[in-house]
């Protein structure tokens, strides 16, 4: 099976965002949350490392909210 998004090397920004967003959106499957977070992480490649956790989490939260309507 081909993944829609290439796997991101696990980094603190992905881990912390998945952890918090899983608690924030219990109605969504963890796999969906991981996919959204990894996509956001890839799109934000090139952003300053120290700012990544906040940027990834904000963007992923925004997309998850939109997907829930």
């Amino acid at each position: 099976m081909t993944l829609a998004v290439p796997p991101t090397v696990p980094d603190p920004s992905v881990r912390s965002a998945v952890c918090r967003l899983s608690q924030e959106f219990p109605e969504l499957r963890p796999r969906s949350i991981v996919l959204v977070v990894r996509t956001c992480r890839e799109e934000l490649r090139g952003s300053p490392t120290d700012a990544l956790p906040e940027l990834v989490e904000r963007l992923a939260r925004q997309r998850l909210r939109v997907s829930l309507g």
Binding site: E43, S47, D50, A51, L55, L59, Q62, R63
Partner: protein, 539 residues
């Protein structure tokens, strides 16, 4: 390393007067050049043209290596500018633009938290990183620790108006000297610095490998730091390739050479005119002489078209006549005086004719002491009194007269004030002329330069008939020539002088020194003491 090359620059004032014409010089790699000239000669305008703030009417500026500029107003910032804002303004243009983009993106996110806005914010941060913004923030941290003793994060939102003038200057200087720009333009970098601060500045300028062009009126700083002197005078500029020590002789020699060249040109001009007239008469009688007459006419026309050499620049005439008068032998008596919270009680006797330098740490109460002797309300304990016939005259730092700001010098002289009778317009204008202030006579005080304001205050002292001069940093804004005129005037003054000063050159003309220590002790010294530490206050 960088350099600055100024070529045939011309600038005309809005009233049509040519301020600068055919200004050409080069400040090579690693040079430390002083830019000197009278108040109003065009030094700051030239710096603004070099920095690109002002477009030259003609000519060009070439430079490499990135340009860092410290403007004159730093040190007197009274608005709500923050430390962060000032550091950003001193950063290279790419960093400035990136910072503004991050700030705009942050503001946009506060209003709209959608995906495009977040991506724009991420892009702005990435750009901030790309232009070296994070590295610059590390430098800023070093800068604030060095200048203010606190990390950048703890002071970045602090307003500059909560810092002293010296702290503002130190912050900007640390930033520029540690920054990436290879060419620095510093407009009066030593203003507001105490003597340890000036010594620190001298060492840093001597150590730096950057190319520096600086304006200063501090003769000690000029003598120690400058390896060449660019003089703005007579509407143009010239360069003395040596230090300040040999500058006066070089300037005198140049003026004499210009006068000699002009005299020779005038003589040759007159000779050619006389020849043309003679040949004209001869040609009328002898057709053979007509050709010689026309040839001579052509030669005269070419000579006149080439024009005369530049005139010797007019000397600024500042004539201060501080007269004073005989007073009681004891001019000032101080017994167990303590200015509340500033110092330990001290005794002091100052005698008629004494020249007393009041030195010491910033914030130790020197200016308050002078204000007390001038009769102003200053909280204190202990006793003080002035001797018989002692009339105090007080020279305050130039920003200390808010009530004068919208009045003109002529108006202030005409109306007088308690202790100083008014004078008629003719006498007022004559006095203003002696101080080189005739052209500024009708303009509001607030629009006068610092040097003009300082000279005007000295004129008021002259007219007040003071026999005890209380001078608070009188040379701070004076150009070199005016400072020397003040020294001559004080030398001839028949009375007593107390002066707070950080001007080491000026202080050498005093014979007693009262030192206000950082530990609150007030003591007398036979030699100037300039290394008292700064008074520590809670931050």
């Amino acid at each position: 390393m960088g350099y600055v090359d100024v070529s045939a620059v011309r600038h005309t004032l809005s009233d049509g007067r040519v301020l600068l014409d055919d200004v050409s010089f080069r400040i090579g790699e690693g040079a430390r050049a002083a830019l000197v000239g009278e108040n109003g000669a065009g030094k700051t305008t030239l710096l603004r043209i070099i920095s690109g703030d002002l477009a030259a009417e003609a000519g060009s500026i070439a430079r490499t290596g990135g340009l860092g500029v410290m403007r004159q107003f730093i040190g007197s910032v009274r608005d709500d500018t923050t430390v962060q804002r000032m550091l950003v303004d001193l950063a290279p243009p790419a960093v400035r633009e990136a910072w503004h983009a991050v700030e705009a993106a942050e503001l946009a996110m506060m209003e709209t938290d959608d995906e495009p806005t977040q991506m724009a914010y991420a892009n702005a941060l990435a750009h901030w990183g790309d232009v070296g913004g994070y590295d610059i923030e590390v430098t800023w941290d070093t800068v604030t620790v060095a200048a203010l003793g606190v990390p950048y994060d703890r002071c970045k939102y602090r307003e500059l108006n909560t810092l002293s003038g010296g702290e503002q200057k130190r912050l900007a200087l640390e930033c520029l000297l540690r920054g990436p720009d290879e060419v620095l333009l510093l407009d009066e970098p030593d203003n507001y610095l105490d003597v340890p601060g000036k010594r620190w500045l001298e060492e840093r300028l001597l150590d730096t490998r950057k190319t520096v062009l600086f304006v200063s009126h501090d003769r000690e700083l000029l003598a120690r730091v400058a390896d060449r002197v660019v003089t703005v005078e007579g509407g143009t500029a010239w360069v003395h390739g040596g230090g300040f020590v040999s500058y006066h002789a070089a300037r005198t020699a140049r003026h004499e050479r210009l006068a000699e060249l002009r005299r020779r040109w005038d003589e040759e001009h007159q000779r050619l005119i006389d020849l043309v007239r003679t040949l004209q008469q001869q040609a009328a009688n002898s057709p053979d002489m007509a050709n010689r007459y026309h040839a001579m006419q052509t030669r005269l026309a070419k000579f006149e078209a080439a024009g005369p050499p530049p005139e010797r620049p007019p000397e600024q005439k500042v004539s201060m006549r501080l007269r004073g008068g005989r007073t009681g032998v004891r001019a000032v008596i101080v017994e167990q005086l303590e200015l509340t919270g500033l110092m330990q009680p001290f005794d002091l006797e100052i005698f008629y004719g004494d020249r007393v330098g009041v030195l010491g740490a910033n914030g130790a109460g020197k200016s308050h002491f002078l204000r007390l002797l001038a009769g102003q309300s200053v909280a204190h304990t202990g006793d003080w009194r002035l001797g018989a016939r002692v009339v105090p005259g007080f020279f305050a730092q130039t920003h200390a007269h808010p009530e004068w700001q919208d009045r003109t010098p002529v108006d202030l002289l005409w109306h007088g004030e308690p202790g100083r009778p008014g004078v008629d317009r003719g006498r007022a204008m004559a006095a203003l002329r002696r101080y080189g202030l005739a052209e500024a006579g009708e303009q509001p005080f607030r629009t006068m330069s610092g040097g003009q304001q300082a000279r005007f205050q000295i004129l008021l002292l002259e007219l007040s008939g003071a026999t005890l001069l209380l001078l608070d940093e009188p040379t701070d804004n004076l150009d070199v020539l005016s400072a020397e005129a003040l020294e001559e005037a004080l030398d001839a003054f028949d009375g007593t002088v107390l002066a707070v000063t950080h001007d080491r050159w000026f202080a050498r003309s005093f014979d007693r020194f009262v030192v206000f220590g950082a530990d609150g002790r007030v003591y007398e010294s036979g030699e100037p003491v300039f290394d008292e530490a700064r008074v520590q206050r809670a931050r």
